[in-house]
Each structure stands twice: as structure tokens, then as C-alpha cells.
């Protein structure tokens, strides 16, 4: 299981990246992250919503209420222009961390 600090730090870039593929809602976002990480990246479900609200306040994402196929009300989120820029910045930062780690790891095996 991944440490909670890392889970918290990765929440915004993961949400932004998922929403860049199209609008989605809280439950689906959680399921998608869980599936893509083989269940290793798990949020306490409710904790996603304060993050989504914060990102909405920052102007990165927008939301709308709509009815699901089952007739239930769902709040759908989608990416805004500022969100795309924020995502690019996040990805740049995470790529840098990854490349430094990968470089160090390579050196260990030389």
C-alpha cells in the first residue's frame, strides 16, 4: 500500500489527468484510480470531495449536476483551461522526480 502522504500529494495530478480524458464523477474517479493502481492507491472515499471542491475553487475544474442512467443525481466534473495548465505543471514536476529516482536507481546497478 502507498503511504498516505504520497497518496495525498498525487491526488490533484491524478484527478486532473483523469478529467483530461473527459468529464467524470467522484465515485468513478476513485474506481478508476483504484483499478489503474491495482488497488494500491486508495483514498478514503469521502476525502476526494474536499480535493475536488478545492480544485473547483482554484478554477481548475467545473461541475454540473446531471442524472445518471439509473436516474440518480450525479455531480460531474470536467477540466477547465487553467486545469490543463495546472496538469502540465504537475506532470512536469512528477516527471522530474521520476527521472531523478530512475537515474539514481540505474547508478546503483552500475
Amino acid at each position: 500500500m502507498i503511504r498516505k502522504e504520497l497518496v495525498a500529494a498525487s491526488a490533484e495530478p491524478l484527478i486532473l489527468s483523469l478529467l483530461s480524458r473527459g468529464e467524470s464523477y467522484g465515485y468513478a474517479i476513485i474506481q478508476e484510480v483504484k483499478a489503474r493502481s491495482d488497488g494500491k492507491l486508495q483514498w478514503t472515499d469521502g476525502m476526494l470531495y474536499p480535493v475536488l471542491h478545492r480544485m473547483e475553487n482554484k478554477g481548475w475544474i467545473k461541475s454540473r449536476w446531471a442524472e445518471s442512467e439509473t436516474g440518480r443525481k450525479r455531480k460531474y466534473y470536467s477540466l477547465k483551461k487553467d486545469g490543463k495548465a495546472a496538469m502540465a505543471r504537475h506532470q512536469e514536476q512528477w516527471s522530474l522526480v521520476h527521472s531523478v529516482l530512475a537515474g539514481l536507481q540505474k547508478e546503483q546497478y552500475v
Partner: protein, 216 residues
């Protein structure tokens, strides 16, 4: 007999008691809860167990409220900054009006109005800086691919800054002297004063700001 709607209503009351607001985000959390219950039911659990697991997964009301509060506080901070910035910009513009009108009509401005005009300029600059910080604060910081200047370049930078500062002073001083001697400032001196102040700011930035350069 287990009544799902009743226990969901109880759960909502618990959330409200913890401070979770309605309709948002409570309705959103309830929608999530129902999705999870449905999922657990598909896995073969009975209603009671499906509800219990779903409530557990969604998290403690107090912890959730704490997270919402944090998000709300950050938003309020930004809103307060925006309000202060707007106020600063309006105040700055208002302070500059009397001096600007006199300058326009008489091609000169009295010392008092000039003082207000400069104060207005400072207020506008402060509001601009505040807005710049708000915009920068909305996006994650850009990775710096920059390094500090070499000592030789530092010396060159400071020397250039000092020269610009001196030129700025040369433009400001006659205007200040005119204001002191005549109690007012004519249009051309106001222009020199503004140009001098701009040079002083630029010189100060070049001299004192720790500039960096792109890494090779």
C-alpha cells in the same frame, strides 16, 4: 427490519451534526454512498452489510468536515485577497484623480496633490502585485531550471543597477527641488519625476533582486 432509507437519513443527520453543509457537499456524498451500496450489493452483500461497509469507506464525518474546512479556508483567503486587491486598485485610482485633473488643466500639479498621486501609484502597484500573486498561487510552481549568477556576473549586475539608480536620481532631484521651492510641480517636471521613479525601481530591482540564469 432493516430500512435502508432510514439509515441513510440517520447518516445524513450525523454528517450535518459534524458540520457538513447541505445541499453541497452532503448531496454529493449521499450520491457516492448510494453508488457504493449498489456496488457492494452486486458483490452479494445484504443491505445492512453493504451500508455499513459503504459508510466506513466514505470516512468519519468529523475528518471529512475538517478537510472541507481546510479547502474552504484556502478559498476564503483567496477571496479576501481579491477583495483587498480591488479595494487597493479603486483607492489608488481615486487618489490619482485630483492630481491628474490639475495636471491636465494647468500642466502643473500642487505638492499635496502630487503626494496623493504618488500614494495612488503605490496603491495600484500593490494591488497589481497582489493579483499577480493570486494568479501565480493558483497553479503549481514551475520547476526552476535556473542557477544563481556567477560572482563576475553578480558584480556586473550590481554595477549596472547602481548606474540606473544614479540616472534615476538625476531625473528625480530637479523635480523634487522644484516642488520644494515653488510648492508645485510643472508638467515636464512631473514627467521627469515619473521617469526617474521608474528608473529607480528598475535600478533597485536589478541591484537587489537575486537573479538566476538558465542552466546549460
Amino acid at each position: 427490519m432493516f430500512d435502508l432509507e432510514q439509515v441513510i437519513a440517520d447518516w445524513q443527520r450525523e454528517m450535518l451534526a459534524a458540520g457538513i453543509k447541505t445541499p453541497v457537499p452532503l448531496e454529493e456524498l449521499e450520491s457516492h454512498l448510494r453508488e457504493e451500496i449498489q456496488q457492494q450489493r452486486k458483490l452479494g452483500l445484504d443491505e445492512r452489510r453493504a451500508f455499513e461497509i459503504s459508510v466506513q469507506k466514505i470516512g468519519q464525518p468529523e475528518l471529512l468536515e475538517n478537510e472541507f474546512q481546510k479547502s474552504e479556508r484556502a478559498f476564503m483567503k483567496t477571496t479576501t485577497k481579491i477583495a483587498a486587491g480591488i479595494l487597493g486598485a479603486l483607492l489608488g485610482a481615486a487618489l490619482m484623480v485630483p492630481g491628474s485633473i490639475q495636471l491636465h488643466n494647468e500642466l502643473a500639479v500642487a505638492n499635496g496633490k502630487l503626494g496623493l498621486w504618488l500614494l495612488g501609484l503605490v496603491s495600484l502597484a500593490w494591488a497589481f502585485e497582489l493579483f499577480r500573486r493570486i494568479v501565480r498561487g493558483q497553479t503549481p510552481g514551475k520547476i526552476s531550471g535556473k542557477a544563481p549568477l556567477t560572482p563576475q556576473k553578480q558584480i556586473l549586475k550590481i554595477s549596472a543597477g547602481v548606474v540606473v539608480l544614479l540616472i534615476g536620481l538625476a531625473f528625480v532631484m530637479p523635480a523634487v527641488a522644484q516642488a520644494r521651492d515653488e510648492g508645485m510641480m510643472k508638467f515636464d517636471e512631473v514627467c521627469f519625476l515619473m521617469f526617474g521613479i521608474a528608473l529607480l525601481i528598475a535600478g533597485g530591482l536589478v541591484t537587489f533582486f537575486p537573479y538566476t540564469e538558465h542552466r546549460a
